[in-house]
Symmetry: C2
Subunit: 212 residues, 2 copies
Amino acid sequence: MLGQWPDKAIERLSLYRRLLANLAAERVKFIYSHELAQKAGRTAAQVRRDMMILGFSGSPTKGYEVARLIEAIGGFLDAGGLQEIALVGVGNLGRAILSYFAGRRPNLSITAAFDSDPAKVDRVIHGCPCHRMEELASLVAVKSINTAIVAVPAGEAQAVADALVGAGVCGLLNFAPVRLRVPGAVFVENVDLTTSLEKVAFFARRQLLRQE
Amino acid sequence: MLGQWPDKAIERLSLYRRLLANLAAERVKFIYSHELAQKAGRTAAQVRRDMMILGFSGSPTKGYEVARLIEAIGGFLDAGGLQEIALVGVGNLGRAILSYFAGRRPNLSITAAFDSDPAKVDRVIHGCPCHRMEELASLVAVKSINTAIVAVPAGEAQAVADALVGAGVCGLLNFAPVRLRVPGAVFVENVDLTTSLEKVAFFARRQLLRQE
DNA sequence: ATCAAACTGTGAACGGATTCACAGCGTGAA
DNA sequence: TTCACGCTGTGAATCCGTTCACAGTTTGAT
Ligand SMILES: NC(=O)c1ccc[n+]([C@@H]2O[C@H](COP(=O)([O-])OP(=O)(O)OC[C@H]3O[C@@H](n4cnc5c(N)ncnc54)[C@H](O)[C@@H]3O)[C@@H](O)[C@H]2O)c1
Ligand SMILES: NC(=O)c1ccc[n+]([C@@H]2O[C@H](COP(=O)([O-])OP(=O)(O)OC[C@H]3O[C@@H](n4cnc5c(N)ncnc54)[C@H](O)[C@@H]3O)[C@@H](O)[C@H]2O)c1
């Protein structure tokens, strides 16, 4: 089930939707695969392949209808209603994330934050209430939360992940520089900024060499 | 030159190094490919392939010598000396990044921040001086900066990228939800948290379905 | 009504990353 | 000294995402 749709394709669909939303705001009604590809930094064939995943059809002469395509991607990516997300660790990064996602997407919303620091709990941060860790299991259950963001220090991440998985969460977005050990039924996406930065630095150096 | 070493391999090497540093702290002297693989969430064969990239050899009976392997990865990934990094956009995310990377890695350091907000410039934030945008070109040149982090609002990102590239930067770590248009000689790594979160939410929902 | 043009939809080809599978090797035991 | 073991190093095979290439389609022009 996990491999049925490659996660790369899911990423592209998410990107397409954002690009299309911009186009819709500019009153663009139709778009060709090569135009969307250009904006997404992909090939036209790739875009058309991705349309196949959606089962979405365009017109050979007009291209894809922007409004309907946005809807089709939403029907594929989004849950039926609101999907609530939990955030654990309201530190520097956690707060940045809260501020960014606050009220941004209608279908995806961080509605519960948790922290072990007594100074941070029982108050609302960027519109999201911050709770004590003791409340995690019950709140996750009550709100049927299946997705959580881990933004605690590396040493705490595994314990937090265990608690989340124990509470029923089966999708984790992990910012801690650790590989979480979780049951196979749990999807983990690691955002590893140290690695990303090292990679950019590495290739930047290589580009310099090439230019010389 | 860019495709010579797949960027996936660079990411893994960066991860290996961090895992190995933890092991070294625990006084572990040698490690087998399957042990490192397990920690990194990869296969043993993959680890051995990556050792080939480094031209690094292990002993059939002891495995790889941790200290020497850390050094070998450093020799491959790191610049000769200190590689300085610039950060543009000292908002919520920019500050989190500054606090995180402050004095963390010896070879990679964010030594110049820039912001267009007069309230933020001409002071030191998390140990990093924040400058006016007007100073960007000259400081990048003086410090020989080739790598930069873009953490400004989406609408500003392209202009900022143009300024950075114009100043000679050829590696960008971009947090803005936009595809930057840059010359082919510039390496761009996009960190797209909206897409990452949508992806996790999508697979978390699928996992639920599978369990039922 | 016919045709030219430019797109879409998709089977097939491709290529690069991953995994397999095993020869070669160093070591410790007998 | 010899042997058995379990690892490394790596050519070959495999897998899977991407791209190619073209038949099919729609529309606007003549
Ligand atoms: N800030 C960044 O830009 C950045 C970059 C890369 C990685 N990271 C990683 O993200 C994580 C968070 O980074 P940060 O800069 O926000 O750190 P931080 O120290 O500012 O925040 C960590 C927060 O987690 C809370 N916490 C600690 N232990 C906890 C526990 N057991 N349960 C619940 N909450 C707990 C703390 O009270 C604090 O509020 C770290 O793992 C860090 O390595 C951050
Ligand atoms: N905060 C997050 O967790 C998060 C998540 C995903 C994406 N992002 C993206 O990262 C970027 C920054 O997010 P943020 O939350 O820090 O936003 P923010 O509004 O808090 O900070 C933006 C900073 O950029 C500065 N700035 C604006 N225009 C500039 C310009 N032309 N030149 C230089 N500086 C300029 C502002 O003064 C401000 O300090 C945005 O593109 C956002 O979409 C942030």
